[in-house]
């Protein structure tokens, strides 16, 4: 090994091996690329925007879990479905409810009639008829189909009884009078029924097609029949999803994109931004860390309130000190959402919480929160301490025992719960114990009532204040702290039964007041997002309720 010639010949040998290795790897990769092309997303548009093919590329945060519209519950599936399916009514680019498959409709106190347009067709060219709606609505409440969103159909007569197995499917209050007229009977009067039928659970399903694919319905691109402006041409699970125009859609002039492509599926925020920077996707959400870079690069930025509210909920079960109103009032008076949002979490697009009803909810003529301003409790530590003393007296305690704050295990929840812990200790001398749990375990503890306070959040199911308004009704299963107030229950009943908008909104106003005066929740924030858009793209619709983002109205700017 010491001789120069020996060592150099060894090196030559090693070099030869290295060369062989590289050649071998190259051959191997070449062989593998054709295997991968079967499982992957090869031969796709290589840029975010392609004016020639009128296509735009985006990123999906995850694989859509459920494209069977009778069962879908999550926002992502709802987004995809919103592009390829259309119900009786739909939201337009201004987020107004407008004609979908139905061209006219009449909603009365005890029922509704929908007249379907004759040119609405499935993607196989067959007409969409009233029978397709009867079939899908029955499917949604069918116990054998076990849909988690069956409850959305409880507005229709006998919906709940059918889900419980007490009545036959045929008793559901929906009838096809003829191919193009659909008659609906309500269980109770439902003023917001028009908004319900825009939701995915109410989309039509073609009986013949559904029965031909059986359990595989919605599992792949070819096991779905499309009623919307686009259809899924190609879906490689976990890798990509590509939508093209539905040639049979009744309104061919809608939107300017011929291809809506999702060539990437990942939840990694950095990957998302990197793909945007590399010109591969047209929209990317920003996190606090990327904000500076986005400003430096002069990207077109947009903010949007996502519609989800977050708050602390108290446990009102017997034996919990948080059942005491004075204690809750004391905490309400030191709660400072503005400090939380602007100084602690510092996330772009987030708004300090003020009410259970988020800012975008519609009231009588305008925004609900403008017509019924949320009552506010400015921070008042002295008054808070007085309430705390009252609470101790009423409870007969010298000291309030440590309060358990149940929370999730993500970094944001951690930051937030530690802030509350410090805040309540500093202002009121209260000890808060953080109980950090993974998602499923947190839900289990919430349902079992193993907490004093829990950090909860709520996103809307349909575009009516009721989606938030009935959360703390004593019978609502979502009311995990078992808050019960006959006053609030009465207002919820009015909001559910009345068909008079003014009367209903007054009821929501009352609910908002009761929640505040009884300190049922401590508002935290309304979640928002800041995102960047490729400047060549316009008309992407964002909305809190319904498919979001909606690319069906998007177009590529002229000259780009």
């Amino acid at each position: 090994m010491d001789t120069a010639s020996g060592s150099s010949s060894v090196l030559r040998q090693l070099g030869l091996y290295a060369l062989l290795t590289i050649v071998g790897i190259a051959l191997l990769m070449w062989a593998m690329s054709w295997i991968a092309s079967v499982t992957g997303s090869a031969e796709r548009t290589q840029t975010a925007i392609d004016p020639e093919t009128r296509s735009a590329s985006f990123l999906l945060g995850d694989e859509p879990p459920q494209l069977d519209s009778s069962k879908a519950t999550d926002a992502l599936s709802g987004m995809v479905l919103g592009h390829v399916m259309e119900g009786l009514l739909a939201y337009n680019e201004n987020n107004q409810l407008t004609a979908g498959v139905a061209e006219r409709w009449d909603i009365r106190e005890r029922g509704a009639t929908f007249w379907l347009r004759r040119d609405a067709k499935w993607s196989n060219g067959e007409p969409i008829t009233a029978h397709d709606f009867v079939y899908s609505w029955r499917l949604a409440v069918d116990p054998a189909n076990s849909s988690q969103y069956a409850f959305l159909l409880y507005a229709v007569k006998n919906g709940e009884a059918i889900t419980q197995g007490k009545m036959p499917l045929e008793s559901l209050g929906v009838t096809a009078i003829d191919d193009y007229t659909l008659e609906v009977e309500f269980e109770n009067s439902t003023a917001y029924f028009g908004k319900l039928v825009a939701f995915s659970t109410y989309y039509p399903i073609n009986e013949k097609f559904h029965k031909s694919v059986k359990d595989r319905f919605g599992a792949d691109a070819d096991t779905l029949l499309y009623s919307g402006p686009y259809m899924i041409e190609n879906w490689v699970h976990g890798a990509s999803l590509k939508m093209v125009r539905n040639p049979h859609y009744w309104n061919p002039g809608r939107g300017g994109l011929d291809i809506i492509d999702f060539p990437y599926i990942t939840s990694d925020p950095n990957a998302r931004l990197n793909l945007f920077k590399d010109g591969k996707i047209a929209i990317a959400g920003l996190s606090a860390e990327n904000l500076g870079e986005a400003i430096d690069r002069r990207w077109q930025m947009n903010a949007f309130a996502e519609g989800v509210v977050f708050y602390i909920e108290f446990n009102h079960r017997p034996g919990r000190v948080t059942g005491n109103r004075h204690l809750r009032r004391a905490m309400q008076l030191v709660n400072d959402p503005a400090e939380l949002v602007y100084k602690v979490t510092k996330l772009p697009g987030y708004l300090p919480g003020k009410s259970l009803f988020p800012v975008w909810v519609q009231g009588v003529n305008g925004f609900f929160r403008q017509e019924y301003p949320a009552p506010e409790a400015p921070v008042n530590i002295e008054q808070a301490r007085w309430h705390l003393e009252q609470a101790k007296q009423e409870l007969g305690l010298d000291e309030i025992p440590p309060l358990i704050l149940l929370t999730g295990d993500n970094p944001l929840s951690t930051l937030q719960s530690e802030y509350y812990q410090d805040r309540f200790k500093r202002t009121l001398g209260l000890d808060v114990r953080i109980d950090k749990q993974i998602f499923k375990q947190r839900l289990e503890k919430m349902t079992a009532g193993e907490f004093d306070m829990v950090m909860a959040g709520w996103g809307p199911d349909f575009d009516d204040p009721l989606t938030f308004g009935d959360l703390f009704a004593s019978w609502n299963e979502q009311n995990r702290g078992k808050y019960a107030s006959s006053e609030l229950d009465a207002q919820v009943r009015i909001a559910q039964r009345s068909v008079d908008t003014q009367e209903r909104m007054d009821a929501f106003g009352e609910i908002q007041r009761i929640l505040f005066e009884d300190a049922v929740i401590l508002p935290g924030y309304e979640r928002g997002i800041v995102y960047v858009v490729d400047e060549r793209l316009e008309g992407v619709v964002r909305r809190a309720v319904g498919p979001d983002p909606d690319y069906t109205f998007a177009r590529i700017r002229e000259g780009s």
Partner: protein, 310 residues
């Protein structure tokens, strides 16, 4: 040899059965409930779902039903994607993980062997010091950091060049595989380099190497026949578990590079408490790992005739 292989196979099957049973028991004891979601379920809807997945039956009964289906090769339906069979999920996504894993292991093994040999030949000289420094880095920096840095560098390189040298993420062509496979194989490569270096160093001064040299054999022949072939043995031993580890542990790399591999489903299933997918992937990965170990043991006898298999 055949008797040995048969014996190992039986042992393997028992191991897989044990893995399946242990996973089943662990899942029954795990807190939480696969059906729960952010939105509370009403009693009747929950009852309908429980009936669908057989959760209304006694756990012992559930166990026998599950084992019966497993023998038939039916892993059930996913809880989160209610229209997808676990069999389909594995069949669609494992090949992706496998391709990426094989490529990564080829990088790792060849790179590790070559670099290890190089460092041993240049012991305590510049190449040795530099490579060993990189090796320590490769072992200690976690893959999510390496993956993120690699991707960011790629973006900047593409930006600088003005055209796309290599895709930043995605899957489907050979260009898509290169960087993810390198990142995935990096820590194993570093580990193998160290292993190879130490086993080379042992052999450099071995008697038979000196004998070979005194016989007047050319250095290159001594190197490839006497040194490399002997030094490679420990590397082969760890290769089996490493293949299984890399193929199953690519979650982070799959996430960062948007690759539709099985690792993502595996991790998500655990977070979602998706019973059938957890069971399916765990049993599948378990069987895969066991098979790899058996294959390596058999290979070992072939590489090193001193090892007798019986």
């Amino acid at each position: 040899m055949w008797r040995y292989a048969f014996k190992r196979l039986i042992q393997g099957i028992i191991t897989v059965w044990f893995i399946a049973t242990a996973t089943f028991v662990a899942m029954q004891m795990a807190p939480g409930d696969p059906l729960s979601g952010e939105k509370a379920l009403s009693e009747e809807i929950r009852a309908n779902l429980e009936a669908k997945y057989g959760l209304d039956k006694h756990p012992v009964q559930q166990y026998f039903i599950y084992m019966g289906n497993l023998l038939k090769g039916d892993l059930g339906i996913s809880y989160t994607q209610q229209n997808r069979q676990v069999n389909d999920i594995i069949a669609e996504h494992f090949p992706v993980s496998a391709i990426l894993g094989v490529l990564a292991i080829v990088f790792a093994a060849l790179g590790g062997i070559l670099l290890g040999a190089l460092t041993a030949l240049f012991r305590n000289k510049a190449p040795d010091v530099i490579i060993m420094f990189l090796v320590i880095l490769g072992i200690s920096v976690p893959s999510f950091v390496v993956a993120a840095i690699a991707q960011l560098s790629l973006v900047n390189i593409n930006d600088l060049l003005g055209f796309s040298l290599l895709p930043v993420a995605g899957w489907g062509t050979v260009q898509h595989m290169l960087i993810p496979a390198l990142v995935l194989g990096l820590s194993t490569m570093a580990f193998l380099t160290r292993l190879m270096r130490s086993s080379m160093l042992e052999i450099i001064n071995a008697d038979y190497v000196r004998t070979a040299r005194s016989k007047g054999l050319p250095e290159s022949r001594i190197f490839s026949r006497h040194m490399l072939r002997n030094a490679i043995l420990p590397v082969v031993t760890v290769l089996g578990p490493a293949i299984a580890g890399i193929t199953t542990g690519g979650f982070v790399v799959e996430l960062v590079f948007a690759i539709p591999g099985l690792g993502r489903y595996f991790v998500q299933a655990v977070q979602q408490l998706d019973y059938t997918v957890i069971m399916g992937t765990t049993v599948f990965y378990g069987a895969f790992l066991v098979l790899m170990v058996i294959i390596v043991d058999l290979l070992y006898g072939w590489v090193d005739p001193r090892v007798r298999l019986d």
